[in-house]
């Protein structure tokens, strides 16, 4: 039984112009000690599905699922109080913008000690000792002094380390990192990713990495789930995914990597992710897909089998027949 198990998760937002489906029938599994990357363009519902799982969505969102369980807790029926005992302790999350994700009015020490005090009930002294230890673990130099610093007195990279220290304070079983490196510059990005991987190795926690950066995926992830317009359209271990993507969208994403570009112009995917009003009737990717035919535009494809990466496509790429033909 996997640590996190999600079946047929959908999230609808009530907007002024009607319902908007941000996540559409997503399945997801994460095992202990595993790194899963969720990739996709902006607006593909990567963050929303995880926020829904954490119970962090605003009241305008309606979450439905056949199953959503974490470590023996049924997240669909869990009470608010009980959820708060799990969230922040066994299930932790870090966010995209470290600068704005920390409260400007409190020292970082106060913010990390709050987690320790509320979840573990540690004494003042024990809190302090543990906070210093955590800061050391995430590579913050001079932790004693840094504890009394305010977020605005530190760099973005340091703040993200504080966020990570806070998230791992109670040794979570699953850590969700929502684009943890997007706001940071490239050298810091690598450091933060190394830190996350090594923390996974030390603590044996599961790690979900939400990103739109294929470079980050290649470097860090073990299994990759590709989302598009709220649907999961493909899932494969990282190597096969990069070698033989089955969904045309995944293939197009990989083609758009500057490292892989062979021509003078970087290949791009024409068009945009469908919004609330231009959702196609058939395959959601069909308006932008270069292989799409009339069937694609009329019918929604069901996911293929695991041997084809569960690709939601009538004509998956890199199948043996296709290579043969």
């Amino acid at each position: 039984m996997s640590l996190l198990r999600i079946r047929n998760l959908s999230v609808d937002f009530a907007t002024a112009s009607g319902k908007f489906r941000a996540v559409d029938g997503v399945d997801q599994d994460v095992n202990t000690g595993e790194i899963l990357a969720i990739v996709g363009e902006s607006g593909s519902g990567k963050s929303v599905s995880m926020l829904a799982m954490m119970g962090l969505l605003p009241w305008t969102a309606t979450v439905t699922a056949d199953e959503m369980s974490f470590d023996g807790h049924d997240l669909l029926t869990i009470g608010k109080r009980e959820r708060r005992r799990v969230v922040g302790k066994d299930l932790a999350m870090i966010f995209q913008e470290p600068m704005s994700s920390l409260n400007p009015c409190f020292t970082v020490g106060w913010q990390i000690k709050e987690t320790l005090r509320v979840h573990l009930g540690l004494s003042r002294k024990a809190c302090h000792a543990r906070a210093v230890e955590l800061f050391e673990q995430v590579g913050i130099p001079d932790p004693e002094r840094r504890l009394s610093a305010f977020p605005h007195q530190m760099s973005g990279g340091m703040n993200q380390r504080v966020m990570i220290a806070m998230a791992i304070a109670c040794k979570p079983k699953l850590l969700i990192a929502d684009e943890p490196t997007t706001a940071l510059d490239v050298t810091i990005q690598a450091q933060i990713l190394d830190l996350l991987t090594s923390l996974r190795d030390d603590n044996g926690m599961g790690l979900v990495l939400i990103t739109h950066d294929m470079g980050v995926v290649a470097e860090t992830a073990e299994r990759v789930s590709v989302q598009y317009a709220g649907q999961k359209i493909e899932e494969q271990p990282v190597l096969p995914l990069f070698q033989s993507p089955h969904h045309p969208y995944t293939a197009a994403l990989l083609d758009a990597l500057p490292e892989r570009a062979t021509e003078k112009h970087l290949p791009t995917i024409p068009g945009m992710v469908p919004g609330q009003f231009d959702r196609p009737a058939g395959c959601l990717f069909s308006p932008r897909c270069k292989y799409a035919n009339s069937k694609c535009k009329a019918e929604q494809p069901a996911p293929q089998g695991p041997e084809l990466g569960h690709a939601r496509c009538f004509y998956p790429l890199n199948t043996d027949e296709r290579i043969a033909s």
Partner: protein, 335 residues
């Protein structure tokens, strides 16, 4: 911090000069002549009029009069009242505790009710409580203060007889007033029922004076909280598994306090202005009533001196508010 305070104090200089000038000019622009008013119905002869004008210095050019007043102010001399002949300074500080007591009570009422009301409204945005509270606040804010006062007097003092109509304490109590604050003095006097009487006298004026600041604080708290509740760090606090009560009252409220404190600081000005009306209606012996009476008497030194002292108080309050910003939000402290 010390540098900041000093630089702020430096900006007081032009403001102080401006306020002195305006308060000096304001009462002189009003039609009416203090000498005629003093003479009353019997009138005054031309010789006596000229004599008095010379005595008060009205025969000299306006800028000379102002210069004499201003140099006096700098030496701590606000002049003597035309009517009582006592120094304005002494009169002001004899009456000020009454106003301060009333204003403090009104402010405490406004903050104690306004902050939680704003927070609760923001958390329950769009629901019944929010709408009811915010419309009530709008009514409170737009209500003419004298009408509201009269309404309360008619209902609670007249019809129900629960509260006294005017004054600070029942006439049957008499005790020394070392602090000038009726609540403290009545308690210190040890006389039975005196403290209760002082409280009963305070209730209606406090409600009347506190209504507008209460409405302003509630609405400002609500909008500031709404803004803050959408911030990333609030989501972080929720991701940490903190309870909604803790998030609202600690994580969010502290950030929302900056605009609220600003409004509270500005309300002090409104409060002193409102005190003039409230004190007049409730015959509250504070500076508000004293100022109004002096305006009718064209008592120039009292009006200009009183205005100046009130303006200085407001300036000090606003400086304090600016200091508070840094205490609440360390990000501001650094600048």
């Amino acid at each position: 911090m010390l540098n900041y305070v000093l630089s702020r104090l430096l900006t007081f200089v032009p403001t102080f000069f401006g306020v002195t000038l305006i308060s000096f000019a304001f009462i002189r622009v009003l039609p009416g002549d203090p000498i005629i008013v003093m003479a009353g119905e019997r009138g005054v002869s031309q010789e006596r009029y000229d004599q008095l004008a010379a005595q008060f210095g009205f025969d000299r050019p306006m800028y000379v009069q102002f210069w004499e007043y201003f140099t006096g102010v700098l030496q701590g001399d606000l002049g003597n009242s035309f009517v009582t002949k006592k120094p304005v300074w002494d009169e002001f500080f004899a009456l000020f505790p009454a106003t301060l007591e009333l204003s403090l009570c009104a402010m405490v009422l406004a903050i104690v009710l306004g902050l939680p009301a704003g927070v609760i409204a923001a958390v329950n945005r769009g629901k019944f409580f929010d709408r009811a509270l915010m419309s009530t606040a709008l009514v409170g804010y737009s209500m003419p203060i004298f009408w509201w006062a009269l309404l309360l007097i008619i209902v609670f003092s007249g019809n129900l007889g629960w509260t006294p109509v005017s004054g600070r304490i029942d006439l049957l109590y008499y005790f020394p007033d070392p602090t000038g604050f009726m609540l403290i003095d009545s308690l210190a006097s040890g006389q039975k029922g005196a403290f209760w009487s002082a409280i009963r006298h305070l209730i209606l004026p406090t409600i009347v004076l506190g209504t507008i600041p209460l409405a302003v604080i509630a609405r400002q708290t609500r909008s500031a909280m709404l803004e803050v509740l959408g911030e990333d760090y609030v989501r972080t606090a929720r991701a940490k598994g903190m309870s909604p009560g803790r998030i609202n009252s600690i994580h969010a409220l502290r950030n929302a306090l900056i605009p609220v404190i600003t409004v509270i600081g500005l309300s002090v000005g409104t409060l002193l202005a409102g005190a003039i009306l409230t004190e007049t209606i409730f015959s509250w012996p504070g500076i508000g009533k004293w100022m109004v009476d002096s305006i009718f008497r064209r008592d120039y030194p009292v009006v200009q001196g009183g205005l100046l002292l009130i303006a200085v108080m407001v300036m000090i309050v606003n400086l304090t508010v600016d200091m508070l910003y840094g205490l609440i939000n360390p990000k501001i402290r650094k600048r």
